[in-house]
């Protein structure tokens, strides 16, 4: 499972982390009981300050999406009943696709090249997941 931070984004890094983790938890990509990496590990890997990651974790804990326990670290909490519905997932996917299509159009890329780029990205993500 990969998480990404864009340093050039106007969205603060802690919010980028929080949003991605919240989405993964809501969609069940991170199931209940999954242990998140320690704050220092994630901060080191992403080149962020530990406080930044700690803030993202705190916000997730406030939203009851994760809970922290001594010796167990930060663990994904039980999914609330109002978990993200299939329709909501489809809407988010459509939004992301629209955003991508707009960028592709602005770059003057034809549909075939745009589809190929998506296929490559999906393959790369799949490879990351099946990696060591």
């Amino acid at each position: 499972m990969i998480i990404e931070v864009d340093p050039s984004s106007p969205t603060p890094p802690y919010e980028q982390l929080r949003a991605q983790l919240a989405t993964m938890i809501a969609t069940g990509t991170l199931p209940e009981g999954t242990q998140l990496p320690p704050i220092r590990q994630l901060a080191a890997d992403l080149g962020l300050a530990a406080n930044t990651v700690a803030r993202a974790y705190r916000e997730l804990e406030s939203a009851r999406l994760v809970h922290s326990r001594v010796r167990h670290g930060t663990v994904v909490a039980a999914r609330p009943r109002s978990a993200m519905a299939a329709g909501e997932i489809a809407r988010l996917l459509d939004d992301a696709a629209t955003s991508y299509a707009t960028t592709a159009r602005q770059l003057g890329v034809d549909a075939q090249a745009a589809h190929a780029a998506v296929a490559r990205a999906l393959a790369a993500v799949a490879e990351d997941r099946s990696g060591p």
Binding site: I2, V5, D128, R129
Partner: protein, 284 residues
């Protein structure tokens, strides 16, 4: 001191000592600046069950060069300090403990100096927690705290016997214990640092190389650290001078040579232990 390999040399043989020292330093300099032999890379890959590729091969060679450079520097520093200390007593000695301590300090410095994987323009990270289970057996991970506990027991026994027989405690007993505890803390901090060294998302073979490097570092720190901690405890034991015929003296005279020989052997076994990095299945 029982753990010393002593070579008491008469002043007339000082020239021979200088020649030997020059040769030793020459070998050390060769190790510091020389190329990493192919055999070392193959040995590393074999111990870690690492399929070497063009990319991770360079990564491992850079690691081996860094560790060898600093460890060799440590041994030379240990040699120099050992000779200088003994010269103060009007003789020339090469103390094994000095050499080994120098090597280990070099190993610690090397772990700080080892370059981590570079982050790309996109800052990506895996959500998989890195735990010691992935990189070395539980026995090796708990070896340093276990030897620290052993050092505490030995020192407690030394203190109790000293108070019982002599009504005071020799300062070296406590000094060696303090060194052992400081060392245990330093090794643990360095091990955690190795575990938390950045590992941004990269190609599978690069991650495998990075994992293998991490694993080997943790093995060396565990084996070397445990050896040095036990040596400190044995020095505490040797520092107890009850000055009488006692079963304790007899027991210590048996335990010391056994410990002096067995401890580095155990450390070597742990440090060179073959290990395949065990990556947990991604949670998906």
């Amino acid at each position: 001191m029982p753990c010393y390999i002593e070579q008491v040399i008469a002043p007339t043989h000082m020239l021979l000592v200088v020649i030997v020292a020059v040769i030793a330093v020459g070998i050390g300099v060769g190790l510091i600046y020389g190329e990493v032999p192919r055999g070392r890379l193959e040995r590393f890959a074999s111990r870690q069950h690492l399929p070497v590729t063009a990319t991770n091969g360079n990564q491992v060679i850079a690691y081996l060069a860094t560790t060898r450079r600093w460890r060799a520097t440590g041994v030379i520093a240990g040699l120099v300090v050992s000779v200088l200390v003994s010269l103060g007593d009007g003789r020339v000695e090469v103390g094994f403990l000095w050499l080994f301590a120098g090597w280990f300090v070099g190993a610690l410095v090397a772990e700080v100096r080892v370059a981590h994987l570079a982050r790309g323009a996109r800052r990506q990270a895996s959500l998989q927690p890195r735990t010691f289970h992935t990189y070395l057996p539980a026995f090796a991970w708990h070896l340093v705290p276990a030897t620290a506990a052993l050092a505490t027991l030995i020192t407690a026994a030394c203190v109790a016997l000293s108070l019982w027989y002599l009504h005071h405690v020799n300062l070296p007993v406590l000094a060696w214990y303090a060194v052992a505890m400081g060392l245990a803390a330093l090794v643990r901090v360095t091990q955690l640092r190795v575990l938390r060294r950045p590992q941004p998302v990269a190609a599978a073979d690069v991650i495998a190389g990075d994992d293998a490097i991490r694993s080997r570092s943790l093995h060396v720190l565990a084996g070397g650290g445990a050896t040095l901690i036990v040596y400190c405890a044995l020095n505490s034991l040797a520092a107890v001078d009850l000055g009488r015929d006692d079963p304790w003296i007899a027991a210590a005279s048996v335990a010391l040579p056994i410990g002096v020989l067995a401890t580095p052997l155990l450390g070597l076994i742990v440090a060179t232990n073959s290990w395949r990095v065990r990556r947990p299945v991604e949670a998906l």
